[in-house]
Assembly symmetry: C2
Homo-oligomer: 474 residues x 2
């Protein structure tokens, strides 16, 4: 079992510095609130010498006064009191501490020395540290959380995130996309437990199938590279590096004390290590969904079935621009497709301009013939824009979506992905979400736009080539 596993199984937790006013979410009460909501089964002990009860829980003047063992501490007191607290925790047998407390290397003056001494002190006390300047641990399977409002269902995605705020955005956005998490760890300034430790943990974690990492900086390049490459060899890893521009580096230093890396060095490192790179949290979630649901494509040749002529042209341009190729079909294949009489004047040369009015069965026949041709590595099928709200009738195309999903069986293992655009209307969004659930269950990734599909799928195809040793053959 990876050596950080104990972090996710504390028998009890003390929140030190929880304010007595529960509306004051800036302090520790957000942690009390989150733990109560997420169904944590162990003891929850607010520690505050100036309060008797917090959110209905008894409050203790110090860690030593808590009855029974305390395995984990969430530290929310000012930095000046931390050395003394570590002493108290050591005496109590605390094994890990998550430090919400900030004011170290990220603050004006960038005090790396105090942060280094803090890590040493904790190590001598036998305590592993997360942070400082972090939110800590979210682990639905054992009821750990640091933010109310999240899904408490566990899933296959493990996240390490140097920014607590971004970890919350990622979880909320993921929740509403139907993505579920094994663990999300906000690790802040990384004085002790760092990105390399967490990558190693997730690489060996049987509950994690895909790893997503938001990183502002790393203090040991070689160790990080080794951990990243090891994790990518075990499962898909998506990295979002913040601070790749000069202004972004300046911001990262003020946020987590992180020192930047030149973009080209970082990009080269990720390519060598087999990590897929994201450029935003949304893009990261696109990559996560692709890695979760898509069959690995052996190459980047896409067969495109677009919904109408103009959509096909744009989809083709977008795919070619973002790393997929759209090869012209052979004469033989075009003739076979033309036999389906998809629609008068419909193009069949790749892209295939899908029939606007036709039987779903014809569409599935076309998919099957293209997949069987050996001329493509994957199929990208577009559904029509969902405007059933505007037309005031249920979309006549839902049946097509179901047929396409069921048609997957006739593709002989060729990976399938679906593009289904929606508008900003909440109903259009809701229908998209419902279809996304169906697609996830069927093991097919769904995207609202060709740009998102092409960007994610080309990265995933690249990863598959890396992992199977076809990028850097030895």
């Amino acid at each position: 079992m990876p050596d950080l596993e104990f972090l996710f199984h504390p028998r009890s937790i003390a929140i030190v510095g929880a304010p007595s006013d529960p509306a004051n979410l800036a302090g520790g009460s957000v942690f009390v609130h989150a733990l109560l909501e997420s169904g944590y089964k162990g003891g929850i002990y607010p520690v505050n010498p100036r309060a008797c009860q917090i959110m209905g829980l008894d409050c203790y003047p110090d860690v030593g006064s808590v009855p029974g063992p305390v395995d984990h501490v969430i530290c929310c007191i000012p930095a000046s009191g931390v050395p003394r607290l570590i002493g108290e925790c050591s005496a109590k047998g605390v094994r890990s501490m998550s430090m919400f407390t900030a004011g170290y290397s990220e603050a004006d003056g960038h005090d790396y020395e105090t942060e280094r001494r803090l890590a040493l002190l904790a190590r001598e006390a036998g305590i592993r540290l997360l942070g400082p300047n972090c939110m800590g641990i979210h682990c639905p399977s054992t009821g750990l959380s640091y933010q109310p409002g999240h899904s408490q269902e566990a899933g296959p995605v493990g996240v390490l995130c140097q920014s607590g705020g971004n970890s919350n955005v990622l979880k909320f956005m993921g929740d509403d996309r139907g993505i579920r998490f094994s663990k999300v760890i906000s690790y802040g300034n990384a004085a002790d437990i760092n990105e390399a430790d967490l990558l190693e943990y997730f690489a060996g974690d049987p509950d994690t199938r895909v790893i997503a990492a938001y990183i502002e900086g790393t203090r040991s390049g070689p160790r990080f590279f080794k951990a990243l490459a090891g994790a990518a060899a075990a499962k898909p890893v998506i990295v979002l590096k913040a601070g790749l521009t000069e202004a972004g580096q300046r911001a990262a230093r003020s946020h987590t004390g992180s020192l930047g890396s030149p973009a080209d060095i970082w990009n080269g490192l990720c390519r060598q290590a087999g990590a897929m790179q994201a450029h935003s949290l949304d893009h990261m979630l696109d990559l996560v969904e692709t890695a979760l649901y898509m069959k690995p494509p052996p190459g980047t040749r896409a067969g495109i079935i677009g919904w109408g002529g103009g959509a096909s042209v744009l989809g083709t341009d977008t795919c070619e621009r973002l790393g997929l190729s759209v090869p012209q079909f052979s004469l033989r294949l075009k003739e076979e497709l033309a036999g389906f009489r998809l629609a008068p004047g419909a193009s069949v040369g790749n892209p295939v301009d899908s029939p606007v009015i036709t039987m779903p069965s014809q569409l599935v026949n076309a998919m099957s013939v293209i997949a069987g041709s050996g001329e493509v590595d994957l199929l990208l099928v577009q559904m029509p824009l969902d405007v059933s709200h505007a037309l005031q009738r249920p979309s006549v195309w839902e049946a097509t979506g179901e047929a396409v999903l069921q048609g997957q069986e006739r593709l002989g293992g060729v990976p399938l992905a679906i593009v289904r655009p929606h508008t900003a209307h909440p109903d259009s969004m809701a229908h998209f979400n419902a279809f996304r659930q169906r697609c996830a269950a069927a093991g097919v990734p769904l995207y609202p736009a060709f740009s998102q599909a092409a960007s994610a799928i080309s990265a995933f195809a690249w990863y598959h080539r890396w992992r199977t040793g076809r990028l850097f053959p030895t």
Copy 2:
């Protein structure tokens, strides 16, 4: 008045080839349906020798049998019957014809010659042609439409679109974003009326403030360049060129018979002509909203107020990557901002890491000080992710949004834009839409992501420099 104005004021319309089965939307009945729904006040005359009534309207065996004048004809019959129809229309005094009929230069064999003869025949008959292979004219102010379900409210955006399907996607997506259109013209293969004619029309159209053009190809480079540059000198023009990749060009040729242009030639042409380029329909709408609502920024120096540390770092990277700069603030300005005590440890150096818990008034004070410094050309302010549905309470941040909008008055004319992310939850989307309406009314563009904001604003700032003669001084 531009010489195509008569297209939008027909006294009556004949739909030739409307099938008797109204469920057959592939044929002309979609046009009858759309005109009935959009409140067109003139005569609507289905023409079909094999039907008596279509959707409750009397049907005529030929155009000559229609009582009274026919100004406009929508042609839905097979290509073989078109020359004879043009003769009939000429005798009836028809002034314009929109040809849904396809099977010309876009079809297998790419018959440019027949298409050329068609255009000559129409010209000799005194009839202006749209198409072939097009949907025609959408003009809410006179009740013209070719697709049911669209908003019938008129607005300031004029669209020329070589793809009928893409024109519908653009309208539906625009409708749900709150964008309203003056005219949307689907012009297909452009045998007679072409992209240059339409750009000239929109340049002089007083109902159109922003022009959006989806173009697959142009057959006369010099004429097109002149029309594009002339239109951009009059108002913002956004161009989405399809077929910029080799595979995309192949697809465009099968769709509208368009011949491609190498991407670098096309890009250079647009830069010279002052057109903003979009790479997708969504991106096009981002650019449209920016051009509609944003005050022109004199340059690309952005002052960023991000919602939290990690979000600020990512937003800064994204802005720098997509054409805005995020200059470090002067010591004087940083000191002034630090005086607001935005939040403990919050960065003030640009980006400003906005307070998570603070008074909206402090945020507005910070905005005002940054705008007054002369150190930025525009302000980008981020709102928190809307997860009020997950927290089961109304967002505590709505007040902040209102304060920011009202704070616009204290910016001394420095342009403001807002980034407000939402999740895939329909409620989050609905709140975003509601705030977008407020922003549009206040003349402030709103984006769900920094990437969309930066990409659109940097293009708009570029356009403003082009238009004021600062890009290519003579």
